[in-house]
Amino acid sequence: MTTEVKTKVIGKSVWRNEDPRLLTGMAQFVDDIELPGMLHAAFYRSDYAHARIKSIDVSAARARPGVVAVYTAEDFGDYWHVGPLQVPPPLAIKGAQFNARPLVPIAKDKVRYSGEPLAVVLAESRYIAEDALADIYADLEPLPAVTDMEKALEPGAPLVHDDLGTNLAADVYQQVGDYEAAKAKADVVIARRFFKDRCAGGAMENRGIVCAWDEKAQKMTVWCGTQAPIPMRNAIAKNLGLSEDQVRLVIPFIGGGFGPKVMTSMPDDVLLPWLSRKLNRPIKWIEDRRENFLATTSERDQIHYAEIALTKDGKILGVKDVFYHNTGAYDPYGMTVPLNTQTHTLGQYDVPNFYTQIKMVFTNKMVVTPVRGAGRNYGVFVMERLMDLAAKELKMDPVEIRMKNLIQPHQLPYKTGIIGQDFVENVLDSGDYPASLKKAVEMIGYEKFVKEEQPRLRAEGKWVGIGVVNFVEGTAVGPYEGARVTVGNNGKVVVLTGCSTQGQAHFTTFAQLVAEQLGVDVKDVHVTTGDTDQFHWGAGTFASRGITVAGSAVYAAATKVRAKALSLASKLLETPEEELELADGVVRVADLPSKFIPLGELAMKANPTRGTIEPGVEPGLEATAYYAPPHGATGYGTNAIILEVDKETFDVKIRRFVFVHDCGTVVNPMVAEAQIHGGVQMGIGTAFFEQLVYDDNGQLLNASFQDYLMPKATDMPMKMELGHLSVPSPLNPLGLKGLGEAGAIPPPAAYAQAIENAIHDVDFEILDMPLNPSRLYELVKAARKK
């Protein structure tokens, strides 16, 4: 068990170190980078979702003044290559079938999704580059497109990858116990088909890259907004046949990541560094919003055939879920997203028998990779809906049936028997699930609402309903992160890590971890999260792992530096270490504060210019440390909401929004709350606003913010009522768990329950997401006709 950590800075809502620069417009983003002689790239993209490429005529584009080069797949010659696969196949799961079809950098022979690049133009300005796109003529022979996951698997369906002979990308099942036997003993079995459509991972800043080859130094420098700086550097080095130290990746400020920026094998990643070297000119490419909608990567659509078997008093005996997962035209990110669905389906519930099967399908849609929530929310939606349907069938209260089936605190750590995205068995490490549900129910005043308020509002003719749902959030997966902490001669501290920040406040929370150990002001800790020339080990920022995995490494490095500082100061101050303390930027004798040595001076002494340092002691007040979790740490929580549905327009208003969560030890409550707020915004989006709508030909019908509805401030709850639980994780010294995706997970399930509860006088079921007023109107209309 973790020992209770008594802290000075950890746990405080310290203001963010990054904000002064961001708020005064002094933060540098990729598009702010201007280099002499820089070329601008623009991609020519396919209008068809599925087509054979007969020929591409770029001669007019090449002839346009200001155009320096135009490249098609053919022009890249031997450099054109498939992949690599960014996440390995799930070999750890017995019997898993997986067909790897990683991304191609630029379409050759065939186009597989609308927006796939066919040519890249390099010109003296972005204006000219875009002018030249209009000069290109691609002779494409359209092929029938396939977008529907189930139809894609029917015999005779158009093939996305002809050589494969099928559109089945993967078939993976896992089971615990024996579902069929459990079902045979059940009093009640409920089976339904669920569908949840895909949403964008729309960050405020789109993708972008600047790359500059320096012929004399034989070195490539790349600025981009990646969530994974080290893997990106390594991929570029490998692509170009350079050693890793010949590539420097620098991450400026990033306007949000949300998942798609974890990609390192996108066309721009692969083609532009090579072109920069080939042409010996810096190149800039800034993705525009339309491209982002069409051809970055987006989140999942899934169809679930799920069933639940229960006793008549509401105890769950088993769950079966066979689901289709639409990976789009390629599967560069392996099976991370559907595996997340598998590991999160049962959530907080104690279910002895579980069968879960993924059928991953290729279609002519944009490629799917993780987006905040990353498949977790789909499992949660299906399970919570099954619970609601079961409650209705058994005439039980939705809270009661949930309470009855929760995993109890003494059962933790709880091995689920299901292998997750990190290829190890998913373990629910810590928590108190009943406490979470109880807290949410209390905060929202469930009893009072159901017994007093709701009857009164119904009597007034209002449709007002309540929803209470649970979720878990697997976070902080491996492999590892590292950090180096250095005290400078000026007494300020530098922290280096490869875990980049897209707005999550790493510059503050990592600084707090260091300040805690070294007794310096948080403002005096400077964090660099993405400069591979300074630190080049790590995996990146994804799966809600920043504070837990990188943070634990930062904390461990700071702990080592603290030990070094104490040891050296003890000698210089001629005082035993136990009598010293680190505070206010100095090491001092605790009982005699006037006897001290500033950290900066100590740093200088630790790195003498002449003389000797003791054998076995490394120079400087510096240390590097790594942290590798055995498996992920699992956060969890409960979302309780009260919604009102307008009886005429079917618009939905949020009356109350309660969110209880547990991320273990909280480093900065303000930052943690903001993470929840942001997650909730995406959760509300996927429940009621956001949806990428494709037609049968694979054309995206809403590739702009005019038609793709992102929830705005005015769509958010007037008040976010957050409840915090803090059961520390046993997996790391500080007891940390991630929370970045929590908010995005439960809202669709909560919406479904609350809306059904609100429209009490109509018998209908919400099985598909997202909803919108029109869809709700049609559902109710159809139910009334019955």
């Binding site: 618009d651 007023p773 109107y777």
Partner: protein
Amino acid sequence: MKPAAFEYYAPVSVEEALDLLDQLGYDGKILAGGQSLIPAMNFRMAQPHALVDLNRVKELFYIKSAPDGSLLIGAMTRDVTVEFDKMVAERLPVVTETMPLVGYYQNRTRGTYGGNLAHADPTGQLPTISVALGARAHIRSKTGERWVEMDDFYLGPFTTILEPQEMLVEVAYPALPPRSAASFKEFTRQVGATPMVGVAVLVTLDDKNRFKNAKIAYLGVGEKPYAATECVKVLLGQEATAEAIRAAAETAAQKDVDPGTDIHGTADYRRNLVNVLTRKALTQAVQSAKK
């Protein structure tokens, strides 16, 4: 998202602007607030050869009263100016109330009243209100001028009767008869977003509170502002009761409009909105007219 190359002219008078438009013909395009035209150019959906920027044409910025009692709004008057104008609030409260729904404050500081009308967005609030209020467009070219009823001004989505060498210089709203009032209601998915359906009504009651006159126009149910006729027939001569209003709203939804289905909503859902919004708009207008 960069526009194609274009020429740029910045005249300072209407005369000069009309000269330019005359010379440029189909190559010329007026730039007003740029809130619609510039995004269209960035998407390269519009690739005008030359822009004639009216932002320096001071004589097009005004709101004034005409001798016949109508209210005149110059084409380049910014949306925010109209929004906060006292005379507009007094004479056309429906315009004052609706202005905050036209996108966001930021785009209303640049967007112009004339630009909005000329842009002919089928989901635009101001064209629909102008049709309901019986407004008239004042159109000029180098060779002449004409006045056109707003009813006749719109041809389809983003298309009006304006010829390339013509300019909308002002719009005139006739004074409302006694016991008249207008109202506008819309449904949007989000604050400031494109409305799915909207309705503008103008009603005149007689001294027995019967509908003497009514004009009802919709946005979002067709390709241009749509003036309904069947529901008006149901109203005329009837006493302005909740019953009468309900019947008219039903008629509008079932007989007048023929909306389509798109990714935001089904045709039937839109009919439902027509019904709900028409009832609300008529109810409010009748209440005001009775005062």
